[in-house]
């Protein structure tokens, strides 16, 4: 059984159900919290840490995308400390991969790029890692460029949770982590992939794209997801 609760976000009184996340309540009230790994319609994992918020009386920062609201919570979604951490997270993502916007299919339609604007960074203080990463162009419709992957695992989740296939997964640890297809094989040889293209649509950067797209031509539309999910739910409960 769920209860309704009242709480404060940035000193504003708001209400919610106790099974809703801080992020959901904030959005209902037009309060902005930056997110990257979160995507409406997918299960949340709390991995990018951009949505961290401060909660009064708790010395730990908590991810708004997974933490549910409680009666009397006092939440702060922005502070000098949070702003600095968010800038560093985005910088880390840029330094970690090989992001060359000028030659990227997603230039101008990239969530990572947008996030850089949102958190206001115009240069990277961290050392670029210049990793050697592989490109997979073996699928006849789509390509994967791991140089642009930020490991948000949206592709892994949409394939598993929505398409029900689990073609995508992760391999390796730490900075060596990478997304893989089936048992780490070329995408074109996958016998689980249904070529539905959901992974491409949910990918926030130009890591997954349709073949034939030139620089800045790849726009994505993940908005079908919440719609799909709610249609399925309504089918389940008569």
């Amino acid at each position: 059984m769920t209860n309704v609760v009242t709480l404060k976000i940035n000193d504003r009184d708001v209400s919610g159900r106790d099974d809703e996340t801080i992020l959901e309540i904030a959005r209902q009230n037009a309060i902005f919290i930056p997110t990257l790994c979160h995507l409406d319609g997918l299960g949340d994992i709390g991995a990018c840490r951009l949505c961290l918020v401060e909660i009064k009386g708790n010395n730990k920062l908590l991810p708004a995308c997974v933490v549910v609201v409680q009666e009397g919570m006092e939440i702060l979604t922005d502070s000098p400390r949070l702003a600095e951490y968010r800038q560093m997270i985005v910088q880390m993502l840029f330094a970690e991969g090989n992001h060359v916007c000028s030659v990227c299919v997603s230039n101008g339609h990239c969530e990572l790029q947008d996030m850089a604007h949102t958190v206001q960074i115009d240069h990277i203080d961290l050392a670029y890692q210049y990793p050697k990463r592989e490109v997979d162009a073996s699928h006849n419709l789509f390509s994967l460029d791991r140089n642009r992957c930020i490991l948000c695992t949206r592709c892994v989740r949409v394939c598993d949770e929505i398409e029900g296939v689990h073609t995508w997964d992760l391999m390796g640890r730490g900075i060596q982590s990478q997304v893989i297809i089936d048992m780490n094989q070329p995408w074109g040889t996958s016998d689980t992939c249904t070529s539905c293209g959901k992974c491409v649509q949910v990918c926030p950067t130009g890591a997954l794209f349709e073949k034939g797209k030139a620089v800045a031509e790849m726009t994505k539309n993940p908005a079908f997801l919440p719609y799909l999910v709610s249609m399925r739910e309504s089918k389940k409960s008569p």
Partner: protein
Amino acid sequence: MNTEELHQIAIDEQTRQRQYKHRLFVCMGTGCLAAHSDQVKQSLEAEVERRELKGQCQIASGGCQGLCVAGPMVTVEPQGTLYQHVQPQDAAEVIETLDQSPIERLQDRTTESFFQRQTKVVLNLAGRVDPERIEDYIAADGYSALLKALTEMTPAEVIEQITASGLRGRGGAGYPAGLKWSTVGKARSEHKYVICNGDEGDPGAFMDRSVMEDYPHRIIEGMAIAAYAVGADNGYIYVRAEYPLAVKRLGLAIRQAQKHGLLGNNIGGTSFNFHLEIRMGAGAFVCGEETALIASIEGGRGVPRPRPPYPAASGVFGQPTLINNVETFANVAQIIARGSDWFTGIGTEKSKGTKIFALTGKINNSGLIEVPMGITLREIIYDIGGGIPNDRSFKAVQTGGPSGGCMPTEYLDIVVDYESLQKAGSHMGSGGMIVMDETSCMVDVAKYFMEFCMTESCGKCVPCRVGTAQMYDLLNKITHGEATLDDLAMLEKLCGMVRATSLCGLGQGAPIPVLSTLRYFRDEYLAHIVDKHCPAGVCNITAAERTTA
């Protein structure tokens, strides 16, 4: 099996043991085995055979004595003589002199204080029970606490005892065991689970390994008591696959306990059921983190997930789950058997009982020790550890593994308990204790731990995945004499950020070795950066680099 039957086994076994005039226990721990203690045992057996002493003299396997460098070790009962560095060719002399005074040559007086200053609770049967025989454990009162709990106590009373004992988790965080048990107990669910965390991945740590190898039944008994207390019917022991001996002995112990009706259905003739299985980890440090461990048991990739919900509310397969460390469970049976008052008599106000440490580094007696909470670092290092070798001087001691801190000389007299170690910028951790002398470079030490965290990071969250690599690169630059003061500022900034924003304890703890060495040994960092010089002479800063810098 009921209490009388258990008692009968104990009596039979004790009678059997009393038939022997002498009982010799050859250590079969990993350390002694590596020194071929199995061959020592064989030649002792052959010698007994040859002299036709079989009925009077028993040659048995025993557990680790802690001072592994002095192995193979043999304990002679009833005298309690401890022989060190025993070789197969010593067998004849050992058996020959059983009724005479002990062989001087095989004893080492300098290590006496190693044994005398310890307080053994978890390891109290060290060397005197055969880990592979349930009868040995039962003869030493084993499983009586379980039957006592099942027949004389309600689950609530068991939790009360554990709460009153003040037992805290030995896996690192020191969370009160009683509180965790009562939370799981209160959770409403048809099925609950109990998990023993035996993943022990800290570099150089072997506390839990030793407990699992030597006291498999003590862990099973503790888990069964816990299961009864919280209302669980299934359990897992999660052991890393790198501990084959622990896996073997735990497996054997589970089968023996099942055979004796101490695991399975209707335990002790009551309505209590508890089924226990082993799960093996595949060598990922992060799988010791409880939510990653649970994901691994469920068959998934071992990565942590945000808490809450805590395992107590939603653990394995979404069911309420009690997860405790090996050493935590190993304390349980004795608390129930002897009462919480006995346990609170050991330790300090907020930290009760004993703690096992793996004492290593620049120290004379390195090995496994169990000390009462409240002992000072100085007593551990100088009395038990026998001080620093080669007339060098003490520089720092590191506790808490890859998320722990280094404490300098000023802290030698602080007492070892959860609070004071934390105040000193370190923490208890699971029991790693590394002693460093003047030849250790603190920047290099910090770099070592950062490298560990970087390679063990699961890669799920950005701050830990990228931050540990960035911090490692900066530390590497410093140790190569290539860093600037700006790099140091960035390192400190990253430390604060990664600590505050990482998802799990691995990332949150990764900056601590850097922060603590910066707190006490900042001058060493500056020497590398400004003077391009490593005071300890560890880092290889070449003259060429010095002139170009």
